[in-house]
Each structure stands twice: as structure tokens, then as C-alpha cells.
């Protein structure tokens, strides 16, 4: 059975607003939705970043003098929730996924355009809900993990709004995941095989499988938690015969895969960027595909390594330690493949390339501390200290956020048809890289020496290191300024990019910049070797021009 893309009597695309208005409308165009995700996510990044600044400002002195402890807890919770659910997850999945996946599979839109628009428009209201909860009797105070009994005993209003907001965002994420799976598996251009797809498609396929399998479990858990808060049931309340460990298991069944939901798409994006800017084919395509799928499978069975101090039985510790250590294998394969891709390439050190290389360095450091944290004796020592904070930020900031910046530098010419200023881009990278490492590297030391996380007050002996860390945070905050200046400057006065400024072979560059509504004027090009760079194919790139 076949269906028409559009009903013959009404053409929704013709009713869509044009010009800048389309970006604030219920647009069905995957490119518009992708940019909506990106701009909306960046807005929340600025809010979450300001909250991080407030946290670092508070921690410059050992006493809680900048803000009261309750407010510190709320700021901490909002920072974590906003950065994870409103910035990284929507941007690495929603923004770039929506923009690129239909190009990569040779389609004119996502499989379910309306569902796609619904998935995006769930995000702004839930984000606003989360932020406004601060003004209604205080926001949630129990951290982004919302562990009971803490989340049951802190003020209920903020916690319930937090649950509602995360449920909405989870729904948005599931709708997006279903859409990506259907698009990649079912909407491919005839003649295009799965093993010929660009790597980002594989990363998004793996991520979407994780989203569809694990997000509903979080939703169910949060529904039970809301029963505990509102109806005074005792699922997770030991005082009423409940069990807090069950919450932790169910929560981490989602939230460990959530880490892969944040970094797997970043892996995919880096795999697109590195070959283009080093003029070499992606090294080890097949091993990349299998390592992504290996991470997906292993990612679902390692959650309890977050719970080594929660009284887990020895066999469980053993199993989860070994499973976690195994994840280093596929991840390591990917890193060696990226280095091999760069090896001997004709590397251009532009903004996109620099941020990708920064990602490789940071993520290797974060990965090493991750393997260390999976070892029970070490984990018991540093659990809930700043070591975990440092590890986590090396993964999600040094990993995912660096890739988001890299991708913005790489695809900005396609989004707008204008080039970004590369010198400003390099400047942005240097400040971000120095600021990031200055902020988070010292926190390893803090953690090893026993400074607990999530507390506004600390032992005065840690003051100097905390101040160094705060200087790094200040640099990171300042690094946003040249970036924003670059974006606005380039949109207004940037050089014209042309259709394919990077001489790339992937399908999104084989159309105009910005692309027309249905992606291609004529038939979609059939790209069988998306990474065919190097001598063999240099003539083809010229022909393409």
C-alpha cells in the first residue's frame, strides 16, 4: 500500500508561513524544526550556563554567602535538568538529527512530519514550566536524579512540576526516537543500503533504539514517584514499607543510557566532520557501525554501576563492573578510528576541526576516569565527590557540547548560506578549551581529596582549587561572547558560502545553501560513498561543482 505525501485537496506546506515567521510556527519542514531545536536549545544553554555560573560563584568561598542553601539546591537541580533535557539531548538528537537525517537517507522530510513538529513544540512549554517552578514556592531541590526519600521530603510543588516537565520532555524524546527509526529504516532512497549510510544515521539509529527502550521506564518511575508525593503512597518511601533502591534501579535504567543518548549522536557528528576537514575517508566504517551497536547493547546493561554504594550485592557489583569495562572496547575502537582518519590527512584547523579534536582529547580523559569509576574499590572512595562531577562534565561538556559547537561551525554555511569567521572560531575554541580544562581538571583533585558534590559549603582547605575552577568557569562563560558575535555578524554580513564550501560528498552539501523546502529541486542524489575523499575521488568532487 502506498500513500501520497500530501493529500490532493490541501497542501499544508503552502499554508506554512515563509520568512523568519516560519521559525516560530508549527512548521512541518524538517530543516525548520531542526533549527527550532537548535536555537531553543541554545537559549536554554544560556540559562543553564548562567545557573552554572551562579554555582561556581557560590563555591569561590567555603561558606554559603552568595545564596541560601535552599536556593543553591534549586539552582543545582535546575542546572542539571536544563542542561541535560533541554540542551544536549534536544540538540544532538533533535536539532542535527532533524536537519541531517532526511538528507542522509535521501528523503524530502522525516517519516512523520506532524509528530516531529509536536515533539519539538513539547519542549518550550516544559522548559518554561521548569524555570517558572522557581517562582512557585521554589523549584525542585533534589538534584537531576530526584532520589527519594529526598525528593519526597523536599517541598512538593517544585518537585511535581519538575516531574511533569521531565515527563513532557521524555514524551518529546520518544516521539523523536520513533520518527528517526522509521525514517532511517523505512524512508531510505531506493538503491541506498544501510551500510552505505553516513555514520550519523547509524548513531541516530542506535540512540533512537535506546530512547524508545529506556525513556518509558523513566516515565513510569516518575509516575510512581509523583504518586508518592501527591497521594502519599509508599513505593519509594521506606517509612511506609517502600524501597528506594528500586527507584535507583529504574532511574538509572534510563539515565545511564541517557549518557549514550547524549554522546552517541556526538560520535556520529564527529564521524561526519573529521573526514571532510582532513580530506580522508572515514577509517573503519564497518567497525564503527558494530561498535555503535555494541555500545547500544552494553549501554542497556550497565546501569547499576551508579549504585555501588547503595548496598548492591557482590555478584551485581561484579557483573556491572565487567560490563562497564567492556564498554571501553567499542568506544576505544571509535577513538582509534578517528585518530586513524586524521592520520596523514590534509587537515584544516578551522573551528569545526578544532572543536572535534578538542572533543577527542576531552572525551578520552573523561573515558579514562569513567573506566576508573567503574571499579568498585575506587568508586566507593570517590562516590558522590567532585571526581564524579569532573568525570561527568568531561563526558557531556568536553564531549557533547564541544561536538555541538563543532557541528555549528561545520553546518552553519548550510543552515544560512553564509560563512562564519574562522579566526573568531579559533579564538572561541582556545578560550573554551582552556576555560573548560581549568574549570574541571582541578575538580578531580577535589574529589580525590574528599570534597562532596551538591553542597554549598565545604572545607576551607579546598578554597584555592575551587577558585581556580571558578576562573575556568568564567572563561567558559566569556567564550560564549565571541561565538554569539560571530553568529550574528555572519548572518548579517558574512561571506556567501556557496552550495558546498567544504568540498564535501555527503548529500546535504549537494543542494543549495540554505536548501529548498523539499531538499532537492529534482531527484535526490544517490550517494553510495559518502566518505570517498582522497586522490581516487578528487576528480569527482570537481565534477560535482
Amino acid at each position: 500500500m502506498t500513500i501520497s505525501l500530501k493529500p490532493n485537496n490541501s497542501s499544508p506546506e503552502k499554508l506554512q508561513p515563509t520568512g523568519w515567521l516560519k521559525y516560530i510556527s508549527f512548521s512541518l519542514d524538517h530543516k525548520v524544526i531542526g533549527l527550532q531545536y537548535l536555537v531553543c536549545g541554545f537559549f536554554f544553554y544560556l540559562i543553564g550556563g548562567s545557573l552554572a555560573g551562579a554555582i561556581r560563584l557560590e563555591l569561590t568561598s567555603p561558606l554559603s554567602d552568595f545564596m541560601p542553601r535552599e536556593v543553591y539546591n534549586q539552582v543545582l537541580t535546575l542546572h542539571g535538568t536544563i542542561m541535560i533535557f533541554l540542551w544536549i539531548v534536544p540538540v544532538v538528537n533533535g536539532a542535527f538529527g532533524n536537519y541531517l537525517i532526511p538528507f542522509y537517507v535521501g528523503a524530502r522530510d522525516m517519516a512523520f512530519p506532524r509528530l516531529n513538529a509536536v515533539a519539538f513544540w513539547l519542549i518550550p512549554p516544559s522548559g518554561l514550566l521548569l524555570i517558572t517552578s522557581y517562582f512557585i514556592n521554589g523549584a525542585a531541590q533534589s538534584g537531576w536524579t530526584a532520589y527519594p526519600p529526598l525528593s519526597i521530603t523536599t517541598p512538593a510543588a517544585g518537585q511535581i512540576i519538575w516531574i511533569l516537565s521531565v515527563l513532557l520532555l521524555g514524551g518529546s524524546s520518544i516521539f523523536g526516537g520513533i520518527n528517526f527509526i522509521a525514517t532511517i529504516l523505512k524512508l531510505r532512497r531506493p538503491g541506498l543500503k544501510l551500510m552505505q549510510l553516513p555514520m550519523y544515521c547509524w548513531a541516530m539509529l542506535g540512540t533512537s533504539i535506546l530512547v524508545v527502550l529506556s525513556t518509558p521506564v523513566l516515565a513510569g518511575t516518575l509516575i510512581l514517584l509523583s504518586f508518592d508525593i501527591v497521594a502519599h503512597t509508599g513505593f519509594f518511601n521506606p517509612g511506609l514499607g517502600g524501597n528506594v533502591i528500586v527507584y535507583q534501579h529504574l532511574f538509572w535504567f534510563y539515565s545511564h543510557p541517557a549518557v549514550y543518548i547524549m554522546v552517541l549522536p556526538a560520535f556520529g557528528l564527529v564521524s561526519e566532520i573529521l573526514p571532510i576537514h582532513s580530506r580522508k575517508p572515514l577509517f573503519g566504517y564497518t567497525t564503527m557501525v558494530f561498535s555503535i551497536m555494541g555500545i547500544v547493547v552494553l549501554g542497556l546493561v550497565v546501569w547499576a554501576h551508579h549504585m555501588f554504594t547503595s548496598g548492591t550485592p557482590p555478584w551485581m557489583r561484579l557483573f556491572f563492573t565487567i560490563a562497564t569495562a567492556f564498554i571501553a572496547v567499542p568506544t576505544g575502537i571509535k577513538f582509534f578510528n578517528w585518530v586513524a582518519t586524521l592520520w596523514g590527512g590534509k587537515i584544516s584547523l578551522n573551528g569545526a576541526m578544532l572543536f572535534s579534536c578538542g572533543f577527542i582529547i576531552n572525551f578520552v580523559l573523561g573515558g579514562i576516569t569513567g573506566v576508573a569509576l567503574a571499579q568498585v574499590p575506587f568508586d566507593v572512595h570517590v562516590h558522590d565527590t567532585y571526581f564524579v562531577v569532573a568525570h561527568f562534565h568531561y563526558i557531556v561538556y568536553g564531549g557533547s557540547v564541544f561536538v555541538i559547537f563543532s557541528s555549528i561551525y561545520h553546518w552553519f554555511p548550510k543552515f544560512t548560506g553564509k560563512m562564519l569567521n574562522e579566526n573568531l572560531g579559533r579564538f572561541h575554541f582556545i578560550i573554551t578549551f582552556i576555560g573548560f580544562n581549568l574549570c574541571f581538571a582541578p575538580q578531580h583533585w577535589l574529589g580525590l581529596n574528599g570534597m562532596p558534590r551538591r553542597v554549598a559549603e565545604y572545607d576551607p582547605q579546598f578554597e584555592l582549587i575551587n577558585q581556580i575552577s571558578s576562573v575556568g568557569a568564567l572563561l567558559m562563560a566569556l567564550s560564549t561572547l565571541p561565538f554569539l558575535w560571530n553568529i550574528f555578524q555572519s548572518i548579517l554580513y558574512g561571506d556567501d558560502a556557496g552550495d558546498n564550501p567544504w568540498d564535501a560528498l555527503t548529500p546535504e552539501w549537494l543542494t543549495s545553501s540554505p536548501p529548498p523546502v523539499e531538499n532537492w529541486e529534482g531527484e535526490a542524489p544517490l550517494v553510495l560513498e559518502p566518505y570517498g575523499y582522497g586522490e581516487k575521488n578528487s576528480n569527482k568532487i570537481k565534477d560535482q561543482k
Binding site: I3, F112, I174, S214, L224, N243, L528
Partner: protein
């Protein structure tokens, strides 16, 4: 092997792109959604089984369930799956009147299930917050009941849309019918698992 097949410059490409056709994969999307929905139940079941294994209920707490009513409920739902299937057969044969009759029967069976479930709720000796078992029982059956309620509403929508000649669901546009049918079978399947885990184990 060429890496890029250039755009073909034939006049065929000038045809209106909006009439381009592709395979219908709405059912595929629905299945993906049902897998996600099933994972929510899987989380609840996992929580229930863990509670049962590690959190013993106090000796004087009441948590015995009567079997006859839930067995009747199971039969009601299984029969409703069958009647829905019959309705589909008639729709494929373009016999809308018969199809509507069987759909109505399915809806009535769904409502009978909900009434019976309500009756069970009101006759049980424990309330939502009495103990951990009671809370989990109500959360699980309630979440399933919500699914049955939504399914029943959707059956009535389908029933209304299969009317001749104004309804939009017919042999040519059968997807809405298939979608609700698949959802209904899914909800039945979940009930069977729930019945085994909650009442029989």
C-alpha cells in the same frame, strides 16, 4: 563504482513533487510506539516483582486477591480481541454494517471490563495507600485501565468513522482501523501478562 549519481536531467523530474509516493509505514511507527509503551509496563512489572521479592508485607496486612472477577475480566478482553478481529474481516469485505455491529460489541466488552474492574476496586479490602502491595496493585491495574479507557474511546471513534456513506474509514483507508486493532490487541496482551504476574504468581 561511482560515488555520486548526478541529477538526471529528464523532463520526468519536472513533475509535481507533491504527488511522490512512498510506502505506508504508519503501522511501523505505531509498533515502535507500542514497544515504548510496553517498556513502561515492563518497568512497572520489574518494580512490582522486586517489591515482592525484597519488601515483605507486614503479617497483618491484607493482600489476598479474589480470582473469579479478574478471570472474568481476562475472558472479556480476550473475547473482545476476537470480536475486533471479526469486525476487521467484515471491513475488508466492505460490509460496513456487520463491521459496525462487531465494533460495538467490542466496545461493550471493553466497557464491561472497566465496570467489572471498578467493581473489584470497590469490593477489595485494601485502599491505595494501605501497603506497598496495594499501592502497586492499584498503580498497575489503574495504568492498564487507562489504556483500556483510551482504547474504548478510539473504538467508538472508529465505529463512527465506519458508517456508510460518510465515514472516512473503509476498505481503501483501513489504517485507522488497523491501528486501533493493533493497540487493542497490545492492551489485551499486557492484561494477560499483568493477570499472570499480579493474580497468579
Amino acid at each position: 563504482m561511482t560515488s555520486i549519481v548526478p541529477k538526471e536531467q529528464s523532463s520526468e523530474n519536472k513533475k509535481d513533487l507533491s504527488t511522490e509516493e512512498h510506502e505506508d509505514f504508519r503501522l511501523f511507527g505505531l509498533i515502535a510506539f507500542l514497544i515504548a509503551d510496553g517498556m513502561t509496563f515492563a518497568g512497572f512489572f520489574a518494580a512490582y516483582l522486586t517489591f515482592k521479592a525484597v519488601n515483605p508485607i507486614g503479617p497483618d496486612a491484607i493482600y489476598e486477591l479474589e480470582l473469579p472477577l479478574p478471570t472474568l475480566n481476562t475472558i472479556l478482553l480476550l473475547v473482545s480481541s476476537f470480536t475486533f478481529h471479526r469486525a476487521g474481516k467484515f471491513l475488508e469485505k466492505n460490509e460496513a454494517k456487520q463491521c459496525q455491529k462487531w465494533l460495538l460489541l467490542t466496545f461493550l466488552l471493553g466497557v464491561a471490563f472497566l465496570i467489572s474492574q471498578m467493581f473489584e476496586y470497590f469490593t477489595l479490602p485494601f485502599g491505595l495507600t494501605d501497603n506497598l502491595f496495594a499501592s502497586t496493585f492499584y498503580a498497575l491495574t489503574g495504568f492498564h485501565g487507562l489504556h483500556v479507557t483510551l482504547g474504548s474511546i478510539m473504538i467508538m471513534i472508529i465505529w463512527w468513522q465506519t458508517r456508510v456513506p460518510y465515514g472516512r474509514v473503509n476498505k481503501e483507508n483501513i489504517f485507522p482501523f488497523e491501528a486501533v486493532e493493533l493497540y487493542w490487541h497490545f492492551v489485551d496482551g499486557i492484561w494477560v501478562v499483568l493477570f499472570i504476574i499480579l493474580y497468579l504468581l
